[in-house]
Symmetry: C2
DNA sequence: CTGTGACTTTCAGTCCGTC
DNA sequence: CGACGGACTGAAAGTCACA
C-alpha cells in the first residue's frame, strides 16, 4: 500500500537504499546501547539534530561521520551497512 | 627514488582510519574487477579524478558516493569497510 | 592511465528554535 | 525525548588542465 508519497514536504527521504539501511541500523544500534540521540551526539561530537536526520534517512553522512558514530557506539563501521540483520 | 618529500603539497591524507581502509579496499576491488579508474568512473557516473582521490585517501566520500561505487563494482558496500580483509 | 592543484557549486553539519 | 524548520558556514561534490 505504500501510497506514492508525493507530497512535497520540505525535507524528504534520500533516494538511496544504502542511506536508508544506515538509518535503520543507526537507530537500532543506538537503542541497543541505551543512548538518547542527544547522548550519542555528545559522544561523537556531532549535532543532536544531525543524528536525528541520519536516523530519519534524510542526511547523507560522510565516511568520517560514520566513523565517529561507529566509535561512539563501539560497533565496527561495516555493521551499519548490513542488510539482512 | 623517493626524493626527500619535504615540499608541503597542499593535499594531504585525511586523518581517518576508516577513510584509509575504504581507499585501500576500493583500489583492491577495482583491480580485482580489472577496471581502470576511468572505466569505473564511467560506470558509476563519477569523475575519474574523484575516484583517484578516493583511492589515495584524500577524499571523504558520502554514503551515496560509496553506494554508487559499490554498485558499479557489484560488491556489497560493507566490503569497503572490512579491515582484516 | 593516473596524480595533482585549483576551482565553483552543492550540501554536510551546526545552532537557534518550536511542537 | 524526538521530529522538524530556518539560516548559516565550512567541507564534499564535481570538473578541468596539465604533469
Amino acid at each position: 500500500m505504500v501510497h506514492t508519497l508525493s507530497t512535497r514536504t520540505s525535507m524528504e527521504l534520500l533516494d538511496s537504499a544504502l542511506v536508508q539501511i544506515f538509518a535503520g541500523n543507526l537507530k537500532r544500534l543506538r537503542k541497543k546501547a541505551r543512548l538518547s540521540q542527544e547522548e550519542l551526539a555528545l559522544r561523537c561530537g556531532l549535532d543532536r539534530t544531525y543524528i536525528s536526520g541520519c536516523e530519519r534517512g534524510i542526511r547523507n553522512p560522510s565516511i568520517v561521520s560514520v566513523e565517529k558514530i561507529a566509535e561512539a557506539l563501539n560497533v565496527p563501521a561495516k555493521e551499519f551497512f548490513e542488510n539482512g540483520r
